[in-house]
Structure formats: structure tokens, C-alpha cells
Amino acid sequence: MRIRKENDGWKIDFSGKKPATPLLDTINYPLHMKNLSTRELEQLAAEVRADIVHTVSKTGGHLSSSLGVVELTIALHHVFDTPDDKIIWDVGHQAYPHKILTGRRSRMHTIRKTSGLAGFPKRDESVYDAFGAGHSSTSISAGLGMAVARDLLKKKNNVISVIGDGAMTAGLAYEAMNNAGFLDSNLIVVLNDNKQVSLPTATLQGPATPVGALTRALTKIQASAEFRKLREKAKGLTKQIGGQTHEIAAKVDEYARGMISASGSTLFEELGLYYIGPVDGHNIEDLVAMFEKVKAMPAPGPVLIHIVTEKGKGYPPAEAAIDKMHGVVNFDMETGKQFKSKSSTLSYTQYFAESLIKEAEADDKIVAIHAAMGGGTGLNFFHKRFPDRCFDVGIAEQHAVTFAAGLATEGLKPFCAIYSSFLQRGYDQVVHDVDLQKLPVRFAMDRAGLVGADGPTHCGAFDITYMACLPNMVVMAPSDEAELMHTVATAAAIDDRPSCFRFPRGNGLGVVIPHDYKGTPLEIGKGRIIMEGNRVAILGYGSIVQQCIEAANMLRSQNIYITVADARFCKPLDRDLIKQLANEHEILITVEEGSIGGFGSHVSHFLSLTGILDGPLKLRAMVLPDRYIDHGSPQDQIEEAGLSSRHISATVQSMLGRPKQAKQFK
């Protein structure tokens, strides 16, 4: 891969080999960038781009977000003195250039892999990562906290929070700006505007059209070139007056600023942040000059610098792609074509989307809501089929939940498709607005359980716990894709109370699915027995049932025949099934891919209340361990968590009093 300087910039030739990066090779830490000239910084930018494309083409991950902020990263590290100065990246997956320049370049090929670099900034990983990101819109709040701490400790460092235009749609960003404006502490907020304002960045047809009023405001700012001319006029005028006093000039300046800035910037001014911009986010000279000036000011207060970048800049296939190659698996560098592995089954997300569409065809009261995750939740397909019945509210889970509650009061049947870990943001709304009022909102929680390469920030460990403790909520978990479709139908049928169901990341198993994706509603509070045995019963909840079945098969080879049951419902529990299992077996093991306080707790509570625990039954609950599981491949994570089929068999063996045989499985 060659990187050449041409008249209008650096050109990268993306052919198959590792790029030659002479300048980047000399940079291990930001300190090494301090003495570079603008020309050299531009060369560095080209080399970093080449390096990112090369690395991500091999490992997969997030591509275009990082490409868009190469110049910004270089400018920030050149001007500011990290790690004393703090840079907080809001959208974690744009931190690849940051990681490359802060001593982690040699490990970039391990990114998102087991024991490798995290795909997001992580405080444990490096002192240059000031704050962990993952859920977006947190950078200004965290930055303000660091700025205030600095002031109380009488320190002098700078704090820079980088936030994107998509992340700005979250209320948290406004809460932070409002507070920042009030406190008037020195803080630099960089608004990285790449005109996407929705994640991921496309519907099936093309780029997502802006989700709200914010983009109109931002567009107006960018388009206000004409005002400049008026200011020139006004300036010329004050010279003509001659001998102007300080006040007149200031007033003209103030007024002219009002004319220069289009309507949108006053949004930030009203919140108390001084607005600067828009600035070309790919011009290193401009960025460096501007950051130097701001850094030199003694008391700027909170400042918002609006930079305009292009997502995927510098890599033509990404610039051209509909979704800008936001998240990719490994791909061919020259063409940008991804090597997507072919699977015989669809993902759970797709099965969910298809069965929801089927339900919605039969019932026109069904509507779908998501929070800027049309691709991730599969609702882009729903939107294509029912454009007026699918609502993307932006990165605003709290609003999504209460909005759904409002829809439900009028008799509609809202399905809120929000990832298990993102629903945490809207939890109070689930409790107060939905459950307390017993409104029939259906929650489809995708990415439940361990999620692989994204790590603990996206891990859906807690949803069983936080949903099943709510008095009115029906809590379900399908064990495979056919069950998922029946669960969707069940949820559609539950119209007198809220309900939720969880399903994992990944592809279906290949079981026989109902004809035409149309599920049939299950009987509420009834599980099923999958295989019969004696002495030991395993009661699984959710997709982990598959691991239980595998464990049973492993034990059969040892002549141990266990019963495996699929609970289907955590609330209401299938009491008859549990009583039956408890009465007919010596040992009962519950398994779930969730934290403590979930399914296992509900079962043990029930057993203790009925007095069964006073008897001879041996009860064990297998749950996720009481620690965060790091990112890695799904198999490694499940092993780390101790919930693989091997672990389940070993547990059975040791409970049967055969610890030696248990060791065989270890």
C-alpha cells in the first residue's frame, strides 16, 4: 500500500499489503507528535488512515467513525498534553486513531478479541483513556465532572469532550450542557458533526434522513454563508464613523455575531456554551490553530466547537456505502467488499423482525419503536413494510418507553425494541410509566446475555433481574428461533399488562420454524419438558437451554440420564412444572444467562414459600458470575462465565457425588 503526497492532499493506494508508514512508526505516544510541522501532521493523518483500514480489514470492527476523526485526534494530541489533559470520547468506536497514537498500535490487531484491546476506550487499559464509553452521550457529563474536580483541586489541565451529532439527540447531553453553562467552568466540547444523526446510519434504502429538529438546526448553521457578507459591511461602517468608542464596536460585533450565527447556534448559546464554528474537521492546520487559541485563553468558560467531518473519509468504498461501513467484518481492502460468512440460518434479530411484521399484518394496531437502532434491532425491515407504524426516536430510550406508554393508553399495541443493556437507560420509565400503570407495552430485548466482541458495555446481564421484580410484568425468554416467533405472538396477544421477552445475539439453530413466520401464542405461565430422565432436573431459561441439552447429551455417554426443561416464563412461573420437577427429582439446577436476582432467585423464592426447600431437594442456581466478563469471542465468554455445557455437566456430576467424573469434564 503506498501513500503519496499529491497537489490536493495525500492519496492512499489501498492494495493488499501492509502500508509503509515511516512517520507513524516513530510515534508511540502523543509526546512524539509535539514537534511535527503541519505538513508532517497531514502525512501522519494519511498514514494513520491507511493503518486503520489495514487493521480493521483483518479484524473487523468499527471503521468509518474512526476514519472521520483522524485529523481531529491528531490535532488534539498535538495541541494538548495528554494524559494530564483529558480527552473524553463519547462515541467509543471512533477511538481507534486515539489508541494507535497512545501506545497501543502494536496491539491493534487484537482489538475486540479475547484478552485483546477493547473496542471502546477503557480506563483499565490505558491512562490515556480518560473515561469508558459505550452507551453514548456521556462525554459532556463526565468531562464536566473532571473539569469541576480540577477546579476544586486547583489544577490547570484542559478537559476536552468529543461528542457526535447522533449522540446529541440524547437528553443527557442537554442536561450536561445546561449544567456546564451554569457552572461556567472551563470545558471544551467538540461537536463532531458528520450529518448522520442516527445509528446505524441507514435504512434499507439509504442514509437515514434526520431524526429530529436538531439536524435542521445544524444544517442551518452550515448554510449561513451569506451572513458573513453583512458583517463585512457592518465592519466597514464602523470604520467610517471614525473614532468609535469601545461600546459601539462591541455592539456592532455583538450584533454582527447575531447575524453571522444562524438560528441553530443559539441553541447552544442559550444553554450557556460559547459557540465556535462550523470548522472543517479535516483541515489539520485549521484545527490546530483553533485549539491552540482556545487553549491559550485564561477563562473561556464552556466552549462548544462545531466541526464538520465526513464519516469514512479517505476510504472511497466507505464514503460510497449506504451505511458508510459503520461496523464491518473483515473485508478486502481494495474493494471494500466484506467477507460475510454465510449461515444457513438467519439471526435472531431477523426472525424477530419477520414475525413482528407477520403479527402487524394481521393487526393494524401494532406499532414498533426503537431508539436509533433500526439496523441492530431489525426494525428497518418493519419500517420498509410499514413506514408509518415504525418510530425511530433517536438515542432516547427514556422517551421511547414513555412514548410507547402514551401510545398504549390509546389502545395501540407498541413493541419497544431496545437492547437489553440500553433499556437500562429507560428503566425508571419502565417502572413508573409502564408497569405501575399496567400499560400493555411489549419490550423486545435483543442482545440479552453475553454479546461477544462488544464487551461488558453492551452485555445484557441484568434484564431478567430488573424486569422480573416488577409486579405487573410478564417476563418470557424463548430457547430457539421457533420459540421466539411464538413468543412474539404471545406478546402481541397480552393486552392487559406489560410484557417483555429477551433473545440473544447470534444466529438461529436451524429448528423447524412455523410456516410463514407466523407464531402461535403460548399459554402464559407454562413451560415444557424437553427430555425426561431421573434424579437430576435442569430447568433452563432462555437460549441457555441449548447448553443444557448439550450437557444432557454429554452425560448420556456416562450413562446418566437427566431431565431438561425449558421454563419459558420467569413471570408468572410455571409452578406446576417446578413442583413436579422438585417432587420427582433429588436435584434441581436452574440455569440462566443473567445475573443474580433473576430466574434462579424467583424459583428458589417460590420453593421456599411452598415449603419444598424444607425437604430433601438439593437446589443450585447457575448464573453469570458476580463480575464483568471482558470482551471476546462468544465461546470464550461463556467458558469464562462458567455456563458452558461442560460446566453444567460438571455441576451435575459433582452434585451426584462423583467429583472425579466431574473433573473429567473440566
Binding site: 472543517d280 482556545v294 464552556p302
Partner: protein
């Protein structure tokens, strides 16, 4: 005063929404073109040209709230009527010109993004044919970038000026108090 244009706001307009095109149209009588340069000559010529034409909606014969189905139907009807192959021989040129404009109108209004931009311009009083706007947009983009630099440089100098006086005694914000305390601390050392 001939140059009062610069300082006084036109009554009834919000300075933030102030646009030279609108003012051009409103101030026609008192405005003297030689005094104030509107930058590119091209833009002025296009504005003149555009003001003669009717809006895309009028061209297609639908209301501004027309649905995409209505737009499509109108376009089909008019395209069939004005297509050069079926137009009366003595009016081929006129009809072809109309056809092209109908085509542009459809292209603009059938794409939600372009339609949004077009509606915005319409509200400001300009209706540029899309091809004209595309050129305008490109030129505007280039001009924009150099405009941007000037603008943020002036914003920076304004910030610097403000920051000089920011922590003066009167300012009681938390940040200002903290900065004053820190200054005093470093003076003592």
C-alpha cells in the same frame, strides 16, 4: 443614510433569519445595487432567472402538501403530454423545455431530502431549479469553507475578548469563583 442597511434590522424580520435574497426582494425600491456586492455574480443572475419561473408545485399542478403518489401521477401525466416525441411540431422547443423542467421538478420532489431542501428555499422566497441549485450548492460549498474560516476566526477573537474580562469581580458563577481562587493561590506562591 445609504449605508444604514448594515445596522438597522428590517422591521418584522428576525436578524437570525435575515437573508440577502429576501432583503433584495423587499428593499427593491430603496436598494442601490452598486453599493453592496452580493459576492458571486452567478447567484444574482440565478435569482433573477428563478423569480420568473413558477415553483415546482405550480409546475406539476399540485399543492405544496402533495403526497408522493400525487407527485408521481402529476409527473406521469405531464411527461406524457410534453415529451418531445409527442409534442406538436411547431412547439417542440417550448414543450421540450417544459418537459425538462417537469423532469427536474419530479426528481427534486420525489426525493424526500431534496424536497426538504427545496421547501426550505421556497419558504425563503427562492425557487431554484434543481440543476441550478446543484451548481449553486457546489459553489456555495467552496465559498462556505473559506467563509467558515473567517467566521470562526472572528468568533475566536470575540471569545478572547470576553475571556479577558470574564472573571472580573461581578461575575459570581461557580467557575469564575474557582478561577479567581486559583489565581490568588498561584500569586501567593
Amino acid at each position: 443614510m445609504r449605508c444604514s442597511y448594515g445596522l438597522t434590522a428590517i422591521p418584522g424580520t428576525d436578524a437570525r433569519f435575515f437573508s440577502p435574497e429576501t432583503s433584495f426582494l423587499q428593499l427593491r425600491r430603496t436598494f442601490q445595487p452598486t453599493r453592496i456586492k452580493f459576492g458571486s455574480f452567478k447567484i444574482k443572475a440565478k435569482i433573477d432567472e428563478a423569480r420568473k419561473e413558477m415553483s415546482f408545485y405550480e409546475l406539476l399542478g399540485i399543492s405544496e402538501r402533495g403526497t408522493s403518489l400525487e407527485i408521481k401521477q402529476a409527473y406521469k401525466q405531464l411527461a406524457r403530454k410534453y415529451h418531445p416525441d409527442v409534442s406538436p411540431p411547431d412547439r417542440v422547443e417550448e414543450y421540450t423545455e417544459r418537459f425538462i423542467r417537469v423532469q427536474e421538478a419530479y426528481e427534486t420532489l420525489s426525493d424526500p431530502r431534496r424536497r426538504a431542501l427545496y421547501d426550505k428555499d421556497l419558504a425563503l422566497g427562492i425557487h431554484l431549479a434543481f440543476s441550478a441549485r446543484r451548481r449553486y450548492q457546489y459553489d456555495e460549498d467552496l465559498e462556505d469553507r473559506s467563509e467558515w474560516k473567517n467566521r470562526w476566526q472572528s468568533q475566536l477573537s470575540e471569545l478572547k475578548r470576553r475571556s479577558m474580562n470574564r472573571d472580573a469581580g461581578g461575575n459570581m458563577s461557580w467557575g469564575a469563583r474557582m478561577r479567581r481562587q486559583r489565581e490568588e493561590l498561584s500569586k501567593e506562591l
